[in-house]
Symmetry: C2
């Protein structure tokens, strides 16, 4: 998606360690004109997928999932994060490692919000090592639902999370894939 | 807003202590068809406000703020929560008390995302005692911005946060106001 690549080039801030900050349009501050187009593009890509539910993770996945959900007329469920494991039989659980923040989160989805038979589109803002998407896929499959695919706004191709998912047979669509990043230059796939 | 009242009556779950659970359509699970109408209604209410920015708080405010932002063509900024105070001069800070969770959060907004001269519409899912909205208003006013009003999906009128803000001169629009709640009955204003 040309617009996402242009936004990354014009507003993204490259930090040491292969980190790119997109807080001015995709994260803390959200450009809703761009977001509407992101939702429309995910809807276009997955229009024939039969998806019945969009699954994401708080907080930064919510805006993109909601934009896609509005464009597709589908409900959105977001997994909650907590530092400690919950003793709760009413939730599906996964452990998600954040490489950018260097911490682990227990993520949960209440069992009543995802059903066997659901066709789940998993959505997040960033796809790097893939830990969040892997956790959400595990939760969907625990519920007996089928994962019809994944969508991310930005994928860092060099961190392999997306290609590992593709190798496992999942459909993964990222609106911009960064294959190389130096302090001064970004190369898209 | 009739739709919000109907949703509360049909899907809300009343818990002890004046708590109403709306996780099936407004929180963990989001009904995006309803959300689109929520965004349109907030846009209608504030169409002449001159708002330039929507300010909310993670996580559960994001969906509503994004729906309103898309309907109004405005950017959304969400305040981040953390358990501990950050020593960071680049952020505006407030302390927010959650009565439903019984804990305090430090909330922050990066200074670059809100400007003196902005006209800020403050949005959240719930308005109860008003601590979150008060914190967001304080942050906006610290930045030298003007608060043109507040919008909440659901206000619990008996917890006074909304009326206290109105008494201080703020415009507060809630899509449903619960004035009384027993274990079996909900009375709207």
């Amino acid at each position: 998606m040309k617009l996402m690549e242009e936004k990354i080039l014009s507003e993204g801030v490259i930090l040491p360690g292969g980190v790119i900050k997109v807080g001015s349009f995709l994260n803390e501050r959200i450009d809703t004109l761009m977001l509407k187009e992101v939702g429309a593009e995910i809807a276009r890509l997955y229009k024939d997928s039969g998806a019945t539910l969009i699954l994401t993770i708080e907080s930064s996945g919510i805006a993109i999932a909601v934009a896609a959900g509005m464009a597709m007329g589908l409900p959105v469920v977001f997994a909650k994060k907590s530092k400690t494991a919950k003793k709760d039989d009413d939730v599906y659980k996964a452990l998600v490692h954040s490489f950018s923040h260097g911490k682990e989160n227990h993520v949960t989805v209440r069992k009543e919000y995802i059903q066997a038979g659901d066709k789940v589109l998993v959505v997040d803002d960033f796809l790097t090592h893939g830990s969040a998407l892997n956790g959400l896929i595990a939760i969907a499959e625990d519920a007996g639902a089928e994962v019809v695919g994944c969508a991310a706004a930005i994928e860092k191709g060099f961190q392999m999370g997306g290609d590992n998912l593709r190798a496992r047979g999942y459909r993964v669509e990222s609106l911009a894939i960064i294959d190389e990043m130096t302090e001064t230059e970004i190369t898209f796939r």
